[in-house]
Symmetry: C2
Subunit: 276 residues, 2 copies
């Protein structure tokens, strides 16, 4: 059999992946961090025993977190990513030529360090001259910012450990303040099969803060249930009303112009959750 | 820890679910059959060590296999389901008032027997008076049929064991013959992450047989990668051109009128697979 990494995604269900070797393991100031070389998924970043990203399927999450809000905005110039120390979202942000500056605020410098070492195809973009990397508390960074950003993306872990403040109404209010008057915000909001409470709560809180609030999904095989949700709050622009001429040529492996709309077509039980 | 059922979905990756008890286990004439009571998913039907259906997430697969083709057809009356002995697809078929007769041809009578006993919310519809259940070889049934059906759905296992003939060009040609001149066919065609060859092959073979061939997806947490594909072959009707007035009130938990179109918006890497 050899060594297998098992993530219990609920108390009674999980995924299991064959591990060739552990590349690095440590307790950082914020969380346990492990980098595994797996047979199926390539190198895999694990924080607090949860899969954060893998070389094989990372493109889905990173593309879908970034491109949906970035195409919703007519000309995103100043972009902030909270969390996301692996650099994957930043890589996608930089594909948009209007972007002048992409700021990454990651609380755990070790995530950046080991992503650069073991996930170079993901973290390489952090070296780009348009990128500023800050090792800092995202909640505090947001609290200090005012009308600075066109788009803010929250690429956090689950609301345990360092990310617990990133799923609060106060945080969403801070984000609204940190955004320009036509700004857009998006956050990963877990899955509707096992974490419907979290999604419902986040949706309600974002809705209380932003005039336009919408949820979209993507399929991420190594994340619980394979169905991931993203909740978007927007001050003016509607993600379902993107003019056709705004789309530009861009290399992607998941995102398509069609999915800009189709990703918002939710399964009935998810729609019901959000209306409940 | 207790007892856990692990399905190796690839040689190097799998899912694992806590089992309260095994309700039934036998080697039938065609395959190994096990019915498990699990903590996360309710009762779970396992054939040849692969999860076939669970009480908690079965609705996704059954709704999406049935409703997409049934709404594509203006008035489906005669419907055939090949495989699907658990009865879930039949339950969904019967939600369409135009359906006069739904025929189920399942090769393994034991699947029907134990689904009725342990999955009554799924298999109960098999008792409906519009349903005819035949324990027979689906391939042979198709070979003998001519211009009989409006819609044929293939709800098979993977192409191992009894289902191996159900993924062949000859079978698709037989289906085209068994369908009326405006008939529609749909089959489950596995997932694009681990079984891209299967999907590509099936798509090519269906495309060689039907004027309109399209692939759509749904999220099924207990199936490999969570992203399942369905390949539809149609003689005349386009699933993306369903008139709004055709939709009727229907209780569903996954399918929506919006998903009738949105489910065909494929991730870029899946589109590329089909064009490759």
């Amino acid at each position: 059999m050899g060594t297998w990494f098992t993530e219990k995604q609920t108390d009674h269900f999980g995924i299991t992946a064959k591990v060739n070797r552990s590349l690095h393991k440590e307790q950082t100031d914020f969380q346990s961090l492990e980098m595994l070389e797996t047979e199926e998924w390539g190198n895999m970043l694990v924080l607090d025993d949860m899969v954060m990203t893998t070389e094989k399927d990372e493109f889905v999450y990173h593309e879908m977190l970034a491109h949906i809000p970035l195409f919703t905005h007519p000309s995103p110039k100043q972009v902030l990513v909270v969390g996301g120390g692996d650099g994957g979202v930043i890589r996608e942000v930089l594909k948009h030529p209007s972007v002048e500056k992409a700021t990454l605020v990651e609380i755990d410098g070790k995530v950046i360090e080991y992503s650069k070492q073991y996930l170079p195809s993901i973290a390489g973009a952090l070296e780009d001259e348009r990128v500023e990397v800050k090792v800092d508390d995202g909640f505090m960074h947001i609290a200090k910012s005012e009308r600075e950003y066109d788009v803010i993306m929250v690429d956090s872990t689950e609301p345990v450990g360092p990310a617990v403040n990133l799923f609060t109404k106060g945080f969403y209010e801070g984000i609204a303040k940190a955004l320009k008057e036509d700004g857009i915000f998006v956050a990963q909001t877990d899955n509707p099969w096992f974490k419907s409470d979290l999604l419902q709560q986040a949706y309600g809180d974002v809705q209380a803060t932003f005039p336009i609030t919408k949820v979209y999904t993507a399929n991420i095989p190594t994340y619980p249930s394979g169905l991931w949700t993203f909740t978007m709050g927007s001050k003016i622009y509607d993600p379902l009303q993107v003019p056709a001429e705004r789309f530009h040529e861009m290399e992607t492996r998941y995102y398509t112009e069609e999915l800009q709309t189709a990703a918002f077509a939710l399964p009935k039980f998810v729609k019901d959750l959000l209306q409940g």
